[in-house]
Symmetry: C2
Subunit: 192 residues, 2 copies
Amino acid sequence: MNTREKILDTALRLFNKSGTAEISTNHIAEAAGISPGNLYYHFHNKQEIIRGLFQRLYAIWDAGFLLPQDRKPTLEDLNTLVKANYQIIWEYRFAYRELVALLRQDAELHAGFLAVRQREYDGFHKIFNDFVAADILVEPEDPAAVEELMEVCWLISEFWVTNLEVNGRNVDETEMQLGVKLMLRVLQPYLA
Amino acid sequence: MNTREKILDTALRLFNKSGTAEISTNHIAEAAGISPGNLYYHFHNKQEIIRGLFQRLYAIWDAGFLLPQDRKPTLEDLNTLVKANYQIIWEYRFAYRELVALLRQDAELHAGFLAVRQREYDGFHKIFNDFVAADILVEPEDPAAVEELMEVCWLISEFWVTNLEVNGRNVDETEMQLGVKLMLRVLQPYLA
DNA sequence: GTCTATATAATGATAGAC
DNA sequence: GTCTATCATTATATAGAC
C-alpha cells in the first residue's frame, strides 16, 4: 500500500480511538510501522494529516450523496441518504467529535467543510422540493414551513450520531434508524 | 478574588478562545498572573481544571432550569428555558465544542454530565406532559408521538449553538431565537 | 523513499524557600 | 499560599546517510 495512504489510515484509526490531541506524529509513525522522518517526508506536520483526512471525508460526501436522476425521489431515498450520512460520520467520528474546535483553528478546513456541506444541503433542499412536487409532502399554508422543516431534518442528520455518543448510547444500525424515525415524525403531519 | 476561582475564570476564557489542547497550565498561570507552582497548588493537573469548569457548568444548569411551580407552564416558559440553555452553552462553549472528546476521556465527567442532563431532560419531559394536560398540546393519536417530538426539541436545544458555530454563523440573540422558532415549527401541527 | 540521529522547544509537574 | 528554579518527558521537526 501507498505510504501516504497508510499514514492516513493509521491516523484515522488512532484519532477515532483517542482524539487528535492525544495522538502525536510519533504515535502515528510507530503504529504505521514507519519512521518519524518518513512520516514528515509525506506530511509537513500533523495538521496536514488532519487536512488529508478531511479531504477524504469531503470526497466521500461528494460521492455518496447522489440522488436518483431518472425518477422522483421517495421517502425511502431520504432514509437511505440520511443513514449513509450517519455511516460516513461514524467512520470519521474523530472529525465530528471535535468538529467545531478543528474547524475554528483552520480556515481552509472550514471553507472546505462549508462548501461540501452546502452541496449536500442543496441536494437535501432538492429532495424536499421534489417531495412537494410529487405530492408526498403537502405544501403547508405557511410558505416558510418547508424550509424550516427541512432545517430541522438537516440538524437531525448532522447531529444524531453526536447525540448518541454524548448520551453514551451505542452507535449501531438500530440507533441510527431511530434518528431517521425522528425525522419522519417531524414530517408526519405534512405527509399525504 | 479567590485564587482557585481566578484560575477557573482564566481557564474558561482561554479555553473558549483557543480550545483545551492549545492552552497549557503555563498559559493559564501566566494569564491569571500567578506562578505555575501556585496553579499546581490549587489543581493537581489540567484535567482537574477542566473538571472544575464542568462542575460549575453542572451547577449552573441545575440552578437555571427551574420550572414555575405555582402554575401550569406556557410556551413562553419553553422559550425562556431553551434560550437560557443556549446562553449557558455559549458561556461554556469550549465544553460543547469538544464535548464528545472530553467526555470520552473522563468517565467521572461523563457520569456527571449524564446525571445533570437527565435532570434537565426530566424537566423537559414534565413541561411537555403539562402542555398536554393544559390542552396547549393536542394529544396525538400515536402515543409515541409526544415522546418523539420532545426528543427532537431536546436535540435542537442541545445542538443548535453547535450548529451555528459549524456553519460560521454568529451566535447572538437573533440566531438563538431561530433555534426556538424551529422547535415551535415542529410542535405547530399539534398546538391547539 | 526511508532510515537513524538529533536539535529545539514546550509540557506537565515537583521541590524547597519564603 | 505563593514564589523561583528545575526536571523528566514528550512533541514537532530537520539533517544527512543509505
